[in-house]
Each structure stands twice: as structure tokens, then as C-alpha cells.
Symmetry: C2
Subunit: 430 residues, 2 copies
């Protein structure tokens, strides 16, 4: 079955918004084992929309259309669908009543502008949208079924899950079972990984994919058919053995989520001290519900004065070793751990750039420390030639990987081919 | 001139990565006054690529192709281009020497896998890529010029700016001058804004666009031609007057960037205290180079114990009013300001969800406080029915807008139609 997607809207085409709906939809389809054949993006010009609908209606079996169902004059998807199908737009009584009720319950009169959202092509079947004022609908044009959805993600996603997926399943009938597994890696480049992996024979029915998404590269192992699914676990195990420390999660799409769940599972607590990461490390963890179970605090000691006042880093340490040094990072980690009375502490201090570098400590130099009750360690990494944001992102990932490895009983500091570490310090049971 | 874009790669089509290159490219073109007619996305199947190249080569004048130039076996753009053009792939001597030198300077042998990147279609002209191992190239197929670029953003963007844009200008010749201005709004929905704006007559040659991107909605005012450009300032002024407090920046695409520059311009300093935002507020500011000029620290007091230990919020205050209350937020702001000896302080404490809500304080209830040497104020906002991440994002935006308004000498707390505030407290000169 040939599935395509059409994204509409000047704001998507003109790059004013990143098309996260498209990414989410394609990913959802992949998880169902359905591959998208093509995605097309057009603006809000009626002639372009009609031409594209007609063109794709001759190639695809099923086309998800996203966007252009809003109340304003540049929302033209319903009209374009009607023209492409050669039918009239008609008012849907049920939806009109539904909208009027909705506004009435909120003590408001329905604005005239919303009446437009009650118009759908005469041959279309309405698809419910419990979250918003724009209904979805589906209709056939030439060989293809078109399924129209609103652009607002909170409306789009449930409509796909609750209505589009069942419709797709009906059209598709029986399909071979599929299974997608992912290995999250860190610290290795895509081509380094590929050069290792290529040595391992890939079982029949399994396809490999790489998704580089800073700071990670995700390896996707997709199995199609019973036989491939049966051979997948052994292949995954072999991959993991081959890649060693590069694999940082087999369960989650980020180091932060992996660490979040490991901390909760172990009932361990964590305090943070951040300089150049500026709260990003805390924020990455707080993104996940339940982080209050382990996260005590983060002291974002951005100014040097804050390192002294809040974290008792002595002026002598700052003077002798500098704000970006193993010694300062360790002092920050030790102090924040004591303040939070927590099992573990992480500290990050570095030069995110573009200013502030020196010859000895160029932009991208970051000191990262981990301590717990029995040991402490720190490393100075060199994240050269990276943007300010990427220096911060990579620093957080290194810190999280140090903690993850410690939590799993491994040596926290490991060599990453893509992140040179110039100084390393390890101390036990002090 | 008809400009299109083709994004390639299974990882883009399958939603494994969000196509930020496409968004960036389209936005750059819009800033040049060039509208994209269509964008197509395909995977890594050679037949699909060739078919798409041939199809679009008969419609467009210029097509930017992104991705598929890497060293691995699923990078097929060069081969597909050669097939579509009906020519052979040939090794580019200059690029081969360039790559060998590049690896040699790093003391490494060039992996055999990179040899593939020296092959380009016989009729193509190479386009330099100073950042990576994949060269760009351009060639004509049917009526269209194809311009091939690598997928890595750090390689793609300079190639567009340094090579594609000059090429486009040559092809395009003289075009009417254009000018794009933007108004950043906050706290109003897209349709509320549109319903206000529709009352104002739009001068000839000016087009309006809306870009909702949480927590903001950006209004784009695009002028094409001398006359429209001349009428743009008066129209913008009228829009600003009409929208009042909704407009939070006329210079920058985010409240954080607006506040960042205003703090620097005023030489003012800032300390933060964050609970549910979990470091996000600090991180939003630290994103911009130069934030060390004003940011003292952020105390991310995630646990209640941290609010007491680090911010001297008394157990009595927490007990009587709760961790999410005007009183706690004010106490946090006052303490963090004293600790940082800073001009201003912001504090955020709330319930990001999905757990932790009560009837009186449901999920999405957030207390936000601002204090300086002369006054303090706080408000309790209700961010109902929003995801955990959106509650945090919106809370940070409300805090930043309070500070922005105070810095500009306005009343910090304002009513946002889309963010009900249930309690407000203002105190001067205590």
C-alpha cells in the first residue's frame, strides 16, 4: 500500500514552523511497519493545493493531509479537496450544532469566522475532532483516499491515533508483522559506528538505520516478518557487544531519560551544580514527570561570585586552577552534594563560547565532575568547533553518561572517539 | 522563478529527525523575498529518488536538494542525479586530493568508505564544502537547475549562504525589493490576534502571516515593492497600537532574547529561583552569548527542602500557603536576589504535572514573582490542559515578560487573554 503525506500551510513551507507533525506522523507509521513513500509540502495557494491533490491522487493509495482547516482566509484545504474531487462544499449540520454548543457552554457566541469550519466536500465523511473546532474528513479522489487533519498538534495526534490508524488498517488488510528496536549511542560519529557495524552480517529481513541527533546517534534495527523478528534479539546482542561503551540506552531515546529512570529505580538522589550548561542539565531531567523523586536542586552558579558564595569554591581554587578546571568542578560537585544531602552530584563548568577562550583553555573546554559518598572523578573535555548550544548539550550528555555508568557499577569515565578528554582525575573512598 | 526543495533520507521521511534544514532554508528564502513553491521529501530508494528528480525537473527552475551525500550505502543522491541526467558518475580528482589531505593532516588514512564522496555526475560542477567530507554540486536536468547539499546542518547552512544564494541571484536577475518585519506576540491566540488585525486595512503590496510557535505567535509583515516598503512603518505602528501589550518584541524572535539584550543595554543584573521550570529559565538566557554580563545564578530548588535550605523559604510559609503560592514565590525571589546581590530577581514555582495537582491548585497552576530594590509583585497563573513541557515553557515566558515590562518602566503584570491569572499581588517600596 502506497502511503503519502501532504503538509499544507505557508508557515510550514516558508519554514516559519518546523514540521514536527510530519516527523511525528512518519515515526508513528514506521513503528507500525508502514513506510511513507513521499511527503509533499505546499503553501496556501488554492491552485497549488488542487494541482498537488490531483497529481498525488493518481499515485498513492492513501494520503494524509495536514493543516489548512482553520477558520481564517488562508485555510483552504476543504475547498481545494472539493475542487479536486469535483464536488461542492456543503455545510455539515452536525458539526455546526456541535460548534454552537461548544461556544455556548463557554458562555460565548460562535464567531462568524468559525462557520467556515462546518463546510466539507459533499462526498466526504466527517472525522471527529474532540480537541478543537476544525473537523477532519476523508474522501476518495481518483485512486487515492485522502484523510484531512488539522495542523494543531494536540488535535492532529489523537485524530491519527483514534481514526487514521484504524482506517489504514482496514485498507491495508493483513501485513507481515514488524518490530523496531533502537540502540542509543553517544560519543561516536555516524561513520565510525557504520564502519564497525558493517563487519557484522545482517540477518535476512532486518534493515539498519542511523539517526544522528545531537548529542546522540540512534541505531534502528527494523525486522520485517516472523523469521527476522526471531533473529532480532541475537543480532541486537551482537551489536551491543561490538559497540561496547558507545551504547548508552536500549530503552529510551535520550541519556536524560535513561538516567531519570535508573535513578528512580535505584531510589537514589541527585544534586547538580552548573555553570556553562546554565540550568540545561536540570531542565533535561525535569522534562520527565517524576523527577522530583530524585532531584534535590541545581545551583546554576553562572558568575564566579556565585561559585564562591553558593558553592564554597574558594577564591584560591578559582585563582590557582581557574573556573574551568578539574579542581573547581570537583569543588562544585562536592559542595552541591553536601547542600542537597544527596547520593550523587554532578557539576559542569566550561567555556561555551564564542568568547572567553584562551590558548590553554580554548572555547569548548569543559570540566565535568561526579561525586558520591565513596568516590569522585572529573574530566576535562575538548568540544572544539561546536556552537555554544552544542557545547552545552554535549557537556550535559557527558555528565549524564558518567552518572549512568556509575549507577550501573561501571567506571564512570570512558574514552569517546568524538570527544577528546585531555585530563582525567579519579579518587576513591576519601 | 519557480523554486522547490527536495529533502532526502529515510531518517527525514520516517520522522527520525525533524527537518530543521528545510525550515531554516525556507525561512532564509522568505527573508530574501523568494517563495518556495513546493517541498518534497523522499527516502533512500534509488528509484524513488530518480523518479522524483525527473518529475520535478519538468516543473521547477531551481531545486535545492538536501541530504544523501554521506559515505554510507544509503547515501544515493549523487547516483540518482547521474541517472536522472543520463550521465555517468565520475571521480572528481580535486576533491579526492582534498579529502586525502584532510585526513593526512589529522594523522589518519582516508577510510575507503569516503572514496564514494569523490564521485559526482559527469556534467555537474562541484560546490565547495569547507566543513565536511561531502562536496556539493550542481547540474541541469531538463528545465531545472539542481543544487545538491549535504544534510549536516553545519555544512548545509554555509553552503546555502556562500554558494546557493549567489547562484540563485544570478538566475533570478532583477527582482522587486522586499522587506520582512516581524512582531512577536505573547499571551494571545492566533485567532484572537487575527480577529483584531482584520479590522485594520492592509496597504497594497503588504501580506500578513502568522507563525504560532509556543509560547509565542509571530506576526510577519511582508512588503514587496518600493511603495509597500514605504507604507510598512506606518502600518507596523498601527498594528502595534492595536495589539498593545500583546507585542513583546519587534526585534527578536523570543522573549528570552529580548530580555537578554534589554538587560545588557541597561547594565542590570539578574538572579533566578526556579522550581517547576527546573533550570529552563536560566538555560533560555544562557543560550545567548554574553549572558554572563547580567546573570548571577539560578537556584533550581526543585525539592521543598531545597526551598528552605537554599532560599530560606520558612517551613511556616510552605505549610501555610503551599509551595505553589504567591508568598512562596515572593520569598524565593527575595532570597535569590539577596544571595546574588542583583538588581532584579525572578522566581517560578508551580505544578507542571501530570501528577501533583489538587482541586484548589490543579496541574498548570504556577506562581511567578519579580522583585527589585523598590517593588515586588507576583501572580498565580492557570495553565490548564497543557503538557508538562508547555506549562514550564509558558511559565518562563510569563516571568520574562514581567521582567521585560519592568525594565521598560511598565506595570509588570498584564492580563493575557490566553493565560488566566487568578491571584495578583503588587507591592511598592517596602
Amino acid at each position: 500500500m502506497l502511503l503519502e503525506m501532504i503538509s499544507t500551510g505557508e508557515e510550514v513551507l516558508a519554514g516559519q514552523i518546523v514540521d514536527t507533525n510530519a516527523a511525528w506522523f512518519s515515526d508513528s507509521m514506521m513503528n507500525l511497519g508502514v513506510e511513507l513513500a513521499r511527503r509533499s509540502t505546499v503553501g496556501d495557494r488554492i491552485d497549488d493545493l488542487v494541482a498537488l491533490f490531483l497529481e498525488r491522487s493518481r499515485h498513492a493509495d492513501l494520503i494524509l493531509v495536514n493543516g489548512g482547516l482553520g477558520p481564517t482566509s488562508d485555510d483552504l484545504s476543504a475547498e481545494a479537496a472539493a475542487r479536486a474531487a469535483g464536488v461542492a462544499l456543503v455545510e455539515h449540520d452536525g458539526w455546526r450544532r456541535h460548534l454552537q454548543d461548544w461556544f455556548q457552554r463557554r458562555g460565548r457566541q460562535m464567531p462568524a469566522i468559525n462557520l467556515k469550519q462546518c463546510l466539507i466536500p459533499a462526498t466526504a465523511e466527517l472525522v471527529d475532532n474532540p480537541q478543537g473546532s476544525a473537523p477532519g474528513f476523508r474522501l476518495q479522489i481518483n485512486r487515492a483516499w485522502f484523510f484531512f487533519t488539522p495542523g494543531v498538534p494536540a488535535e492532529f495526534k489523537p485524530m491519527v491515533t483514534d481514526h487514521f490508524v484504524p482506517f489504514l488498517s482496514r485498507l491495508r488488510g493483513a501485513a507481515p508483522p514488524t518490530r523496531l528496536c533502537k540502540l542509543l549511542t553517544f560519543g561516536h560519529g555516524e561513520s565510525t559506528l557504520a564502519e564497525s557495524i558493517v563487519r557484522l552480517p545482517v540477518p535476512a529481513g532486518i534493515t539498519l538505520g542511523y539517526r544522528p541527533s545531537a548529542p546522540h546517534v540512534e541505531i534502528k534495527v527494523f525486522a520485517r516478518g516472523e523469521e527476522a523478528i526471531a533473529s532480532q534479539p541475537a543480532y541486537l546482542a551482537a551489536l551491543q557487544e561490538l559497540l561496547g561503551a558507545a551504547v548508552v540506552s536500549t530503552r529510551f531515546p535520550s541519556l536524560a531519560e535513561e538516567v531519570h529512570h535508573t535513578l528512580i529505580a535505584q531510589g537514589a538522589s541527585l544534586s547538580l551544580a552548573e555553570s556553562c550548561s546554565g540550568g540545561m542539565l536540570a531542565s533535561l531531567l525535569v522534562d520527565f514527570a517524576g523527577s522530583s523523586a530524585y532531584l534535590r536542586h541545581s545551583i546554576v552558579s553562572y558568575a564566579n561570585a556565585a561559585k564562591t558564595a553558593l558553592l564554597q569554591v574558594t577564591p584560591a581554587t578559582l585563582e590557582r586552577h581557574g573556573a574551568v578546571s578539574l579542581e573547581t568542578a570537583l569543588a562544585m560537585a562536592a559542595a552541591t552534594r553536601t547542600l542537597g544531602d544527596s547520593d550523587y552530584a554532578l557539576a559542569i563548568t566550561g567555556i561555551a563560547g564564542p568568547e572567553g577562550g584562551s590558548e590553554a583553555k580554548p572555547v569548548g573546554t569543559v570540566a565535568i565532575a561526579l561525586c558520591d559518598s565513596r568516590s569522585r572523578c572529573a574530566q576535562l573535555v575538548r568540544l572544539a568547533n561546536r556552537s555554544r548550544n552544542l557545547v552545552r548539550t554535549m557537556s550535559c550528555a557527558v555528565a549524564l553518561d558518567m552518572l549512568r555508568r556509575r549507577l550501573l557499577g561501571m567506571e564512570p569515565i570512558v574514552a569517546y572517539p568524538f570527544i577528546p578528554a585531555s585530563e582525567v582525575l579519579r579518587e576513591d573512598a576519601h
